[in-house]
Protein backbone atom coordinates (compact mmCIF):
# COMPACT_ATOMS: atom_id res chain seq x y z
CA UNK A 1 0.00 0.00 0.00
CA UNK A 2 2.85 2.36 0.79
CA UNK A 3 4.25 1.71 -2.69
CA UNK A 4 1.14 2.92 -4.44
CA UNK A 5 1.73 5.68 -6.97
CA UNK A 6 0.36 9.02 -5.98
CA UNK A 7 -1.59 9.45 -9.17
CA UNK A 8 -3.15 6.01 -8.86
CA UNK A 9 -4.10 6.65 -5.24
CA UNK A 10 -5.64 9.99 -6.11
CA UNK A 11 -7.63 8.46 -8.96
CA UNK A 12 -8.96 5.77 -6.64
CA UNK A 13 -9.84 8.37 -4.06
CA UNK A 14 -11.73 10.39 -6.65
CA UNK A 15 -13.64 7.28 -7.72
CA UNK A 16 -14.57 6.55 -4.12
CA UNK A 17 -15.79 10.10 -3.70
CA UNK A 18 -18.00 9.90 -6.75
CA UNK A 19 -19.34 6.49 -5.64
CA UNK A 20 -20.13 7.83 -2.21
CA UNK A 21 -21.66 10.98 -3.61
CA UNK A 22 -23.97 8.96 -5.83
CA UNK A 23 -25.23 7.43 -2.57
CA UNK A 24 -26.36 4.19 -4.18
CA UNK A 25 -24.13 1.82 -2.28
CA UNK A 26 -25.42 -0.04 0.78
CA UNK A 27 -24.36 1.51 4.05
CA UNK A 28 -21.94 -1.25 4.92
CA UNK A 29 -20.16 -0.99 1.58
CA UNK A 30 -20.11 2.79 1.84
CA UNK A 31 -18.32 2.55 5.16
CA UNK A 32 -15.78 0.17 3.68
CA UNK A 33 -15.18 2.61 0.82
CA UNK A 34 -14.83 5.44 3.22
CA UNK A 35 -12.20 3.57 5.20
CA UNK A 36 -10.32 2.87 1.98
CA UNK A 37 -10.57 6.53 1.03
CA UNK A 38 -9.05 7.60 4.33
CA UNK A 39 -6.26 5.10 3.84
CA UNK A 40 -5.57 6.36 0.30
CA UNK A 41 -5.52 9.96 1.47
CA UNK A 42 -3.01 8.99 4.14
CA UNK A 43 -0.68 7.32 1.63
CA UNK A 44 -0.94 10.40 -0.62
CA UNK A 45 -0.03 12.67 2.26
CA UNK A 46 2.81 10.36 3.18
CA UNK A 47 4.26 10.67 -0.33
CA UNK A 48 3.95 14.46 -0.18
CA UNK A 49 5.62 14.60 3.21
CA UNK A 50 8.67 12.64 2.09
CA UNK A 51 11.59 15.02 1.67
CA UNK A 52 14.34 14.25 -0.83
CA UNK A 53 17.52 15.66 0.53
CA UNK A 54 19.89 15.49 -2.42
CA UNK A 55 20.12 15.75 -6.17
CA UNK A 56 21.79 13.00 -8.16
CA UNK A 57 23.74 13.00 -11.36
CA UNK A 58 23.11 10.12 -13.72
CA UNK A 59 26.34 8.84 -15.24
CA UNK A 60 27.04 5.97 -17.57
CA UNK A 61 29.34 3.27 -16.29
CA UNK A 62 32.13 2.07 -18.54
CA UNK A 63 30.80 -1.46 -18.27
CA UNK A 64 27.39 -0.25 -19.42
CA UNK A 65 24.42 0.61 -17.28
CA UNK A 66 24.01 3.67 -15.13
CA UNK A 67 24.92 4.89 -11.71
CA UNK A 68 23.83 7.80 -9.56
CA UNK A 69 26.36 10.10 -7.95
CA UNK A 70 25.57 13.01 -5.66
CA UNK A 71 25.45 16.37 -7.43
CA UNK A 72 27.57 19.17 -6.00
CA UNK A 73 24.98 21.92 -5.86
CA UNK A 74 27.46 24.53 -4.64
CA UNK A 75 29.27 24.43 -7.94
CA UNK A 76 26.01 25.13 -9.77
CA UNK A 77 25.41 28.35 -7.89
CA UNK A 78 28.96 29.62 -8.08
CA UNK A 79 29.37 30.33 -11.76
CA UNK A 80 26.99 31.39 -14.43
Amino acid sequence: MAEIKFEEALKKLEKIVSDLEAGKLPLEESLKKYEEGVRLAQSCSKILDTAQKKVDVLTKKDAGGFELKPFDEESASEKE
Binding site: L27, C44, T50, Q52, L58, F66
Partner: protein, 423 residues
Protein backbone atom coordinates in the same frame (compact mmCIF):
# COMPACT_ATOMS: atom_id res chain seq x y z
CA UNK B 1 56.87 37.39 -61.66
CA UNK B 2 57.35 38.19 -65.31
CA UNK B 3 55.85 41.55 -65.83
CA UNK B 4 57.81 42.67 -68.92
CA UNK B 5 55.75 43.79 -71.87
CA UNK B 6 56.32 41.30 -74.60
CA UNK B 7 55.82 42.90 -77.97
CA UNK B 8 55.89 41.33 -81.40
CA UNK B 9 58.74 43.60 -82.37
CA UNK B 10 60.97 42.12 -79.77
CA UNK B 11 61.89 38.52 -79.25
CA UNK B 12 58.86 36.28 -79.16
CA UNK B 13 58.06 35.04 -75.64
CA UNK B 14 56.26 31.70 -75.85
CA UNK B 15 54.45 30.45 -72.76
CA UNK B 16 53.49 26.96 -72.05
CA UNK B 17 49.78 26.65 -71.17
CA UNK B 18 50.76 25.82 -67.66
CA UNK B 19 53.02 28.81 -67.33
CA UNK B 20 50.40 31.21 -68.63
CA UNK B 21 47.76 29.63 -66.51
CA UNK B 22 50.03 29.86 -63.51
CA UNK B 23 50.63 33.56 -64.24
CA UNK B 24 46.92 34.24 -64.56
CA UNK B 25 46.26 32.27 -61.40
CA UNK B 26 48.72 34.32 -59.40
CA UNK B 27 47.38 37.55 -60.87
CA UNK B 28 43.78 36.65 -60.13
CA UNK B 29 44.33 35.26 -56.69
CA UNK B 30 46.42 38.21 -55.62
CA UNK B 31 43.99 40.73 -56.99
CA UNK B 32 41.00 39.13 -55.24
CA UNK B 33 42.42 37.55 -52.07
CA UNK B 34 38.97 37.80 -50.51
CA UNK B 35 35.65 39.25 -51.49
CA UNK B 36 31.97 39.37 -50.70
CA UNK B 37 29.75 38.51 -53.61
CA UNK B 38 26.01 38.51 -53.82
CA UNK B 39 23.88 36.65 -56.31
CA UNK B 40 21.24 34.00 -56.93
CA UNK B 41 21.96 30.30 -56.67
CA UNK B 42 21.65 28.17 -59.79
CA UNK B 43 22.75 24.68 -60.86
CA UNK B 44 23.16 23.60 -57.27
CA UNK B 45 24.80 20.16 -56.84
CA UNK B 46 26.50 18.35 -54.01
CA UNK B 47 29.06 15.63 -54.61
CA UNK B 48 29.29 12.30 -52.79
CA UNK B 49 32.29 13.69 -50.93
CA UNK B 50 30.17 16.53 -49.60
CA UNK B 51 31.52 19.39 -51.70
CA UNK B 52 28.95 21.83 -52.98
CA UNK B 53 28.97 23.33 -56.48
CA UNK B 54 26.69 25.99 -57.87
CA UNK B 55 26.72 29.24 -59.75
CA UNK B 56 25.94 32.66 -58.42
CA UNK B 57 24.31 34.77 -61.03
CA UNK B 58 22.67 38.06 -61.59
CA UNK B 59 20.94 39.49 -64.65
CA UNK B 60 24.06 39.60 -66.83
CA UNK B 61 26.71 37.32 -65.40
CA UNK B 62 27.36 34.03 -63.74
CA UNK B 63 30.12 33.00 -61.30
CA UNK B 64 31.15 29.39 -60.75
CA UNK B 65 31.30 28.67 -57.03
CA UNK B 66 32.74 25.83 -55.00
CA UNK B 67 31.97 25.34 -51.35
CA UNK B 68 34.22 22.59 -50.01
CA UNK B 69 33.09 20.18 -47.35
CA UNK B 70 35.48 21.57 -44.75
CA UNK B 71 33.92 24.98 -45.14
CA UNK B 72 30.28 23.99 -45.68
CA UNK B 73 29.88 21.69 -42.65
CA UNK B 74 28.91 24.71 -40.54
CA UNK B 75 26.14 25.69 -42.93
CA UNK B 76 22.90 25.82 -40.91
CA UNK B 77 20.46 25.95 -43.80
CA UNK B 78 19.91 24.03 -47.00
CA UNK B 79 20.96 25.50 -50.30
CA UNK B 80 18.62 25.48 -53.20
CA UNK B 81 18.36 27.11 -56.59
CA UNK B 82 16.85 30.55 -56.60
CA UNK B 83 18.13 31.57 -53.17
CA UNK B 84 19.68 35.02 -52.88
CA UNK B 85 23.00 34.68 -51.12
CA UNK B 86 25.92 36.70 -49.91
CA UNK B 87 29.09 34.67 -50.20
CA UNK B 88 32.48 35.34 -48.75
CA UNK B 89 35.57 33.78 -50.32
CA UNK B 90 38.31 34.22 -52.83
CA UNK B 91 38.80 33.77 -56.53
CA UNK B 92 40.84 30.74 -57.50
CA UNK B 93 41.76 29.27 -60.78
CA UNK B 94 41.37 25.60 -61.46
CA UNK B 95 44.24 24.88 -63.76
CA UNK B 96 43.11 21.54 -65.26
CA UNK B 97 40.08 23.16 -66.85
CA UNK B 98 41.40 26.68 -66.99
CA UNK B 99 38.38 27.96 -65.21
CA UNK B 100 38.28 30.43 -62.44
CA UNK B 101 35.88 29.91 -59.59
CA UNK B 102 34.81 31.48 -56.36
CA UNK B 103 35.96 29.44 -53.38
CA UNK B 104 33.41 30.13 -50.69
CA UNK B 105 34.37 30.31 -47.03
CA UNK B 106 31.10 31.58 -45.61
CA UNK B 107 27.64 31.79 -46.95
CA UNK B 108 24.69 33.81 -45.73
CA UNK B 109 21.25 34.15 -47.11
CA UNK B 110 20.55 37.65 -48.26
CA UNK B 111 17.93 39.45 -46.18
CA UNK B 112 17.13 37.04 -43.31
CA UNK B 113 19.86 35.49 -41.23
CA UNK B 114 21.15 32.02 -41.92
CA UNK B 115 19.89 30.69 -38.58
CA UNK B 116 16.45 32.04 -39.28
CA UNK B 117 16.36 30.17 -42.58
CA UNK B 118 17.64 26.99 -40.98
CA UNK B 119 15.03 27.29 -38.25
CA UNK B 120 12.22 27.70 -40.77
CA UNK B 121 13.45 24.83 -42.89
CA UNK B 122 13.74 22.37 -39.99
CA UNK B 123 10.43 23.52 -38.55
CA UNK B 124 8.66 22.87 -41.85
CA UNK B 125 10.32 19.50 -42.26
CA UNK B 126 9.47 18.28 -38.76
CA UNK B 127 5.97 19.68 -38.98
CA UNK B 128 5.43 17.50 -42.05
CA UNK B 129 6.70 14.53 -40.08
CA UNK B 130 4.12 15.25 -37.40
CA UNK B 131 6.56 16.26 -34.67
CA UNK B 132 4.34 19.07 -33.45
CA UNK B 133 0.96 17.31 -33.56
CA UNK B 134 -0.89 17.97 -30.36
CA UNK B 135 -2.57 14.57 -30.62
CA UNK B 136 0.69 12.67 -30.13
CA UNK B 137 1.84 14.71 -27.19
CA UNK B 138 2.00 12.85 -23.93
CA UNK B 139 0.14 13.99 -20.86
CA UNK B 140 2.32 14.97 -17.97
CA UNK B 141 1.95 12.79 -14.90
CA UNK B 142 -0.13 14.45 -12.23
CA UNK B 143 2.61 14.07 -9.70
CA UNK B 144 6.01 13.01 -11.01
CA UNK B 145 8.07 11.70 -8.13
CA UNK B 146 11.29 11.55 -10.14
CA UNK B 147 12.17 14.50 -12.37
CA UNK B 148 14.99 14.12 -14.87
CA UNK B 149 16.84 17.30 -15.85
CA UNK B 150 18.94 17.73 -18.97
CA UNK B 151 20.88 20.98 -18.80
CA UNK B 152 24.23 22.48 -17.93
CA UNK B 153 25.43 21.63 -14.41
CA UNK B 154 26.35 25.27 -13.95
CA UNK B 155 24.29 28.34 -14.57
CA UNK B 156 20.94 29.86 -13.84
CA UNK B 157 18.79 27.12 -15.33
CA UNK B 158 19.77 24.27 -13.01
CA UNK B 159 19.86 26.61 -10.02
CA UNK B 160 16.34 27.89 -10.69
CA UNK B 161 14.97 24.42 -11.29
CA UNK B 162 16.47 23.05 -8.08
CA UNK B 163 15.33 26.03 -6.02
CA UNK B 164 11.75 25.79 -7.13
CA UNK B 165 11.44 22.01 -6.95
CA UNK B 166 12.97 21.89 -3.46
CA UNK B 167 10.72 24.62 -2.17
CA UNK B 168 7.46 23.61 -3.79
CA UNK B 169 7.84 19.87 -3.99
CA UNK B 170 10.47 18.55 -1.59
CA UNK B 171 9.15 15.02 -2.16
CA UNK B 172 10.42 15.03 -5.76
CA UNK B 173 13.65 13.17 -6.51
CA UNK B 174 15.79 15.07 -8.98
CA UNK B 175 18.26 13.41 -11.33
CA UNK B 176 20.51 15.50 -13.54
CA UNK B 177 22.38 14.57 -16.68
CA UNK B 178 24.81 17.44 -17.14
CA UNK B 179 25.32 18.47 -20.76
CA UNK B 180 26.90 21.19 -22.83
CA UNK B 181 24.08 23.47 -23.90
CA UNK B 182 25.91 25.44 -26.56
CA UNK B 183 28.74 25.06 -28.99
CA UNK B 184 30.04 22.19 -31.03
CA UNK B 185 28.51 18.83 -30.13
CA UNK B 186 25.99 20.24 -27.65
CA UNK B 187 22.94 19.09 -29.63
CA UNK B 188 24.29 15.53 -29.70
CA UNK B 189 24.95 15.59 -25.94
CA UNK B 190 21.46 16.82 -25.20
CA UNK B 191 19.91 14.19 -27.49
CA UNK B 192 22.04 11.47 -25.90
CA UNK B 193 21.00 12.54 -22.40
CA UNK B 194 17.31 12.28 -23.33
CA UNK B 195 17.93 8.81 -24.74
CA UNK B 196 19.84 7.83 -21.60
CA UNK B 197 16.94 8.87 -19.39
CA UNK B 198 14.70 6.69 -21.55
CA UNK B 199 17.04 3.76 -21.05
CA UNK B 200 17.37 4.40 -17.32
CA UNK B 201 13.55 4.53 -17.06
CA UNK B 202 13.38 6.01 -13.56
CA UNK B 203 12.26 9.52 -14.39
CA UNK B 204 8.55 10.31 -14.62
CA UNK B 205 9.13 13.50 -16.57
CA UNK B 206 12.08 15.33 -18.16
CA UNK B 207 12.96 19.00 -18.15
CA UNK B 208 15.26 19.83 -21.09
CA UNK B 209 16.56 23.33 -21.45
CA UNK B 210 18.91 26.15 -20.59
CA UNK B 211 18.89 29.78 -19.57
CA UNK B 212 18.64 32.74 -21.90
CA UNK B 213 21.13 33.69 -24.57
CA UNK B 214 21.48 34.79 -28.17
CA UNK B 215 19.93 32.78 -30.97
CA UNK B 216 23.34 31.22 -31.58
CA UNK B 217 23.60 30.30 -27.89
CA UNK B 218 20.22 28.58 -27.98
CA UNK B 219 20.95 26.94 -31.29
CA UNK B 220 21.42 23.38 -30.01
CA UNK B 221 17.71 23.34 -29.20
CA UNK B 222 16.94 24.12 -32.83
CA UNK B 223 18.82 21.11 -34.10
CA UNK B 224 17.28 17.98 -35.47
CA UNK B 225 18.96 15.42 -33.13
CA UNK B 226 17.44 17.15 -30.09
CA UNK B 227 14.02 17.37 -31.71
CA UNK B 228 14.18 13.67 -32.66
CA UNK B 229 15.25 12.61 -29.17
CA UNK B 230 12.34 14.56 -27.67
CA UNK B 231 9.93 13.17 -30.26
CA UNK B 232 11.04 9.59 -29.57
CA UNK B 233 11.11 9.94 -25.78
CA UNK B 234 8.68 7.66 -23.95
CA UNK B 235 8.99 9.95 -20.96
CA UNK B 236 7.06 13.22 -21.27
CA UNK B 237 9.40 16.13 -21.99
CA UNK B 238 9.07 19.73 -20.90
CA UNK B 239 11.18 22.07 -23.01
CA UNK B 240 12.44 25.18 -21.22
CA UNK B 241 14.82 27.18 -23.36
CA UNK B 242 15.82 30.77 -22.77
CA UNK B 243 13.18 33.36 -22.04
CA UNK B 244 9.49 33.76 -22.70
CA UNK B 245 10.12 35.19 -26.19
CA UNK B 246 12.47 32.43 -27.37
CA UNK B 247 10.74 29.68 -29.29
CA UNK B 248 12.88 26.76 -30.34
CA UNK B 249 12.22 23.59 -32.32
CA UNK B 250 12.52 21.74 -28.99
CA UNK B 251 9.67 23.85 -27.63
CA UNK B 252 7.43 22.90 -30.57
CA UNK B 253 8.31 19.21 -30.28
CA UNK B 254 8.12 18.84 -26.50
CA UNK B 255 4.97 17.61 -24.78
CA UNK B 256 4.89 20.91 -22.93
CA UNK B 257 6.74 24.17 -23.52
CA UNK B 258 7.73 26.18 -20.50
CA UNK B 259 8.72 29.79 -21.10
CA UNK B 260 11.70 29.52 -18.74
CA UNK B 261 13.46 26.81 -16.69
CA UNK B 262 11.84 28.22 -13.52
CA UNK B 263 8.43 27.97 -15.13
CA UNK B 264 9.21 24.37 -16.12
CA UNK B 265 9.88 23.50 -12.50
CA UNK B 266 6.60 25.10 -11.51
CA UNK B 267 4.68 23.35 -14.28
CA UNK B 268 6.13 19.92 -13.62
CA UNK B 269 4.59 19.49 -10.20
CA UNK B 270 1.56 21.01 -8.73
CA UNK B 271 2.70 22.41 -5.40
CA UNK B 272 2.54 20.37 -2.24
CA UNK B 273 0.03 22.77 -0.65
CA UNK B 274 -2.27 22.52 -3.62
CA UNK B 275 -2.18 18.71 -3.64
CA UNK B 276 -2.65 18.52 0.11
CA UNK B 277 -5.64 20.81 -0.22
CA UNK B 278 -7.05 18.65 -3.02
CA UNK B 279 -6.74 15.48 -0.97
CA UNK B 280 -8.24 17.22 2.04
CA UNK B 281 -11.15 18.30 -0.07
CA UNK B 282 -11.74 14.80 -1.44
CA UNK B 283 -11.63 13.38 2.05
CA UNK B 284 -14.09 15.99 3.30
CA UNK B 285 -16.50 15.12 0.49
CA UNK B 286 -16.08 11.45 1.43
CA UNK B 287 -16.88 12.15 5.05
CA UNK B 288 -19.87 14.32 4.18
CA UNK B 289 -21.26 11.63 1.87
CA UNK B 290 -20.88 9.00 4.53
CA UNK B 291 -22.48 11.20 7.18
CA UNK B 292 -25.33 11.84 4.82
CA UNK B 293 -25.68 8.15 4.08
CA UNK B 294 -25.83 7.33 7.76
CA UNK B 295 -28.36 10.09 8.39
CA UNK B 296 -30.54 8.86 5.55
CA UNK B 297 -30.30 5.28 6.73
CA UNK B 298 -31.36 6.46 10.21
CA UNK B 299 -34.32 8.30 8.75
CA UNK B 300 -35.33 5.27 6.76
CA UNK B 301 -35.16 3.15 9.88
CA UNK B 302 -37.26 5.70 11.76
CA UNK B 303 -39.83 5.68 8.97
CA UNK B 304 -40.05 1.91 8.98
CA UNK B 305 -40.39 1.84 12.73
CA UNK B 306 -43.34 4.21 12.51
CA UNK B 307 -45.05 2.05 9.93
CA UNK B 308 -48.68 1.08 10.75
CA UNK B 309 -47.96 -2.62 10.72
CA UNK B 310 -45.23 -2.33 13.31
CA UNK B 311 -47.13 0.19 15.39
CA UNK B 312 -50.46 -1.73 15.65
CA UNK B 313 -49.58 -5.34 15.00
CA UNK B 314 -52.89 -6.53 16.60
CA UNK B 315 -54.89 -4.67 13.94
CA UNK B 316 -52.96 -6.36 11.30
CA UNK B 317 -53.58 -9.78 12.91
CA UNK B 318 -57.26 -9.10 13.50
CA UNK B 319 -57.85 -8.85 9.83
CA UNK B 320 -56.60 -12.39 9.51
CA UNK B 321 -58.56 -13.61 12.51
CA UNK B 322 -61.68 -12.23 10.97
CA UNK B 323 -60.94 -13.75 7.66
CA UNK B 324 -60.33 -17.15 9.17
CA UNK B 325 -63.57 -16.84 11.09
CA UNK B 326 -65.37 -15.99 7.93
CA UNK B 327 -63.94 -18.94 6.10
CA UNK B 328 -64.89 -21.40 8.83
CA UNK B 329 -68.44 -20.12 8.93
CA UNK B 330 -68.83 -20.48 5.24
CA UNK B 331 -67.36 -23.94 5.38
CA UNK B 332 -69.83 -25.01 8.06
CA UNK B 333 -72.74 -23.81 5.96
CA UNK B 334 -71.47 -25.69 3.01
CA UNK B 335 -71.16 -28.91 4.97
CA UNK B 336 -74.60 -28.47 6.41
CA UNK B 337 -75.96 -28.05 2.95
CA UNK B 338 -74.24 -31.20 1.73
CA UNK B 339 -75.61 -33.19 4.64
CA UNK B 340 -79.10 -31.89 3.93
CA UNK B 341 -78.94 -32.96 0.31
CA UNK B 342 -77.73 -36.41 1.21
CA UNK B 343 -80.35 -36.84 3.85
CA UNK B 344 -83.00 -35.92 1.33
CA UNK B 345 -81.67 -38.41 -1.15
CA UNK B 346 -81.66 -41.06 1.54
CA UNK B 347 -85.26 -40.49 2.51
CA UNK B 348 -86.24 -40.55 -1.10
CA UNK B 349 -84.51 -43.85 -1.64
CA UNK B 350 -86.14 -45.36 1.42
CA UNK B 351 -89.56 -44.37 0.15
CA UNK B 352 -88.91 -45.89 -3.23
CA UNK B 353 -87.64 -49.02 -1.55
CA UNK B 354 -90.75 -49.14 0.53
CA UNK B 355 -93.01 -48.97 -2.49
CA UNK B 356 -91.14 -51.76 -4.18
CA UNK B 357 -90.85 -53.97 -1.10
CA UNK B 358 -92.65 -57.36 -1.34
CA UNK B 359 -93.73 -56.84 2.21
CA UNK B 360 -95.81 -53.98 1.00
CA UNK B 361 -97.64 -56.36 -1.35
CA UNK B 362 -98.48 -58.65 1.57
CA UNK B 363 -100.46 -55.85 3.17
CA UNK B 364 -102.77 -55.94 0.20
CA UNK B 365 -103.69 -59.63 0.92
CA UNK B 366 -101.01 -61.46 -1.07
CA UNK B 367 -98.75 -64.02 0.52
CA UNK B 368 -95.39 -65.61 -0.27
CA UNK B 369 -94.78 -69.32 -0.13
CA UNK B 370 -91.31 -70.64 0.69
CA UNK B 371 -90.37 -74.23 0.20
CA UNK B 372 -88.85 -75.69 3.32
CA UNK B 373 -86.33 -76.42 4.52
CA UNK B 374 -84.29 -74.32 2.05
CA UNK B 375 -86.73 -71.45 2.26
CA UNK B 376 -86.86 -71.09 -1.52
CA UNK B 377 -89.64 -68.97 -2.93
CA UNK B 378 -92.20 -71.19 -4.61
CA UNK B 379 -93.78 -69.27 -7.43
CA UNK B 380 -94.83 -72.34 -9.43
CA UNK B 381 -96.75 -75.44 -8.26
CA UNK B 382 -94.38 -77.67 -10.22
CA UNK B 383 -91.74 -76.81 -7.75
CA UNK B 384 -93.73 -78.48 -5.00
CA UNK B 385 -94.36 -82.15 -4.31
CA UNK B 386 -97.18 -83.59 -2.31
CA UNK B 387 -95.98 -83.81 1.26
CA UNK B 388 -93.51 -80.89 1.01
CA UNK B 389 -93.56 -78.56 3.90
CA UNK B 390 -94.02 -74.91 3.04
CA UNK B 391 -93.98 -71.63 4.96
CA UNK B 392 -96.45 -69.01 3.98
CA UNK B 393 -95.81 -65.39 4.87
CA UNK B 394 -98.69 -63.06 5.33
CA UNK B 395 -98.95 -59.40 6.04
CA UNK B 396 -98.80 -60.21 9.65
CA UNK B 397 -97.14 -63.45 10.68
CA UNK B 398 -96.63 -66.69 8.83
CA UNK B 399 -97.60 -70.32 9.01
CA UNK B 400 -96.18 -73.66 7.97
CA UNK B 401 -98.28 -76.24 6.09
CA UNK B 402 -97.94 -79.44 4.17
CA UNK B 403 -98.87 -79.87 0.52
CA UNK B 404 -101.66 -82.29 0.23
CA UNK B 405 -102.69 -81.76 -3.36
CA UNK B 406 -101.65 -79.54 -6.21
CA UNK B 407 -102.84 -78.35 -9.56
CA UNK B 408 -100.31 -77.46 -12.22
CA UNK B 409 -102.63 -75.44 -14.40
CA UNK B 410 -100.63 -72.32 -15.31
CA UNK B 411 -103.30 -69.77 -14.75
CA UNK B 412 -104.33 -70.58 -11.35
CA UNK B 413 -101.93 -73.15 -10.02
CA UNK B 414 -102.85 -73.86 -6.44
CA UNK B 415 -101.66 -76.09 -3.75
CA UNK B 416 -103.95 -77.16 -1.04
CA UNK B 417 -102.29 -77.25 2.19
CA UNK B 418 -103.10 -78.58 5.57
CA UNK B 419 -102.08 -76.12 8.20
CA UNK B 420 -100.71 -77.81 11.24
CA UNK B 421 -99.49 -74.79 13.12
CA UNK B 422 -99.80 -71.12 13.05
CA UNK B 423 -96.80 -69.06 13.59
Amino acid sequence: MRKENVGLKEERRIYTVSDLTEDIKVLLENTFPEAWVEGEVSNFTQSQAGHIYFSLKDAKSSLRCVFFKGANSGLKFKLQDGQQLIAFGRITLYAPSGQYQFNIQRLEPKGVGALQIAFQQLKEKLQKEGFFDEARKKKLPLLPLVVGVVTSPVGAAIRDILNILKRRAPFVKIILIPVKVQGEGSAEEIAQAIQDFNKYKEADVLIVGRGGGSMEDLWAFNEEPVARAIYNSKIPVISAVGHEIDWTISDFTADLRAPTPSAAAELVVAGKEELTRQIGHLLAVCAASIANKIKNSGKELERLRGAYVLKYPQNFIQVYVQRIDDYSRRQEQKIRHIVEINRHRFVNSIEKLHVLSPLNILSRGYSITFKLPALEVASDATELEIGDKVETRLNLGSFISEVISKSEKPAVGTAQCAVPTKK
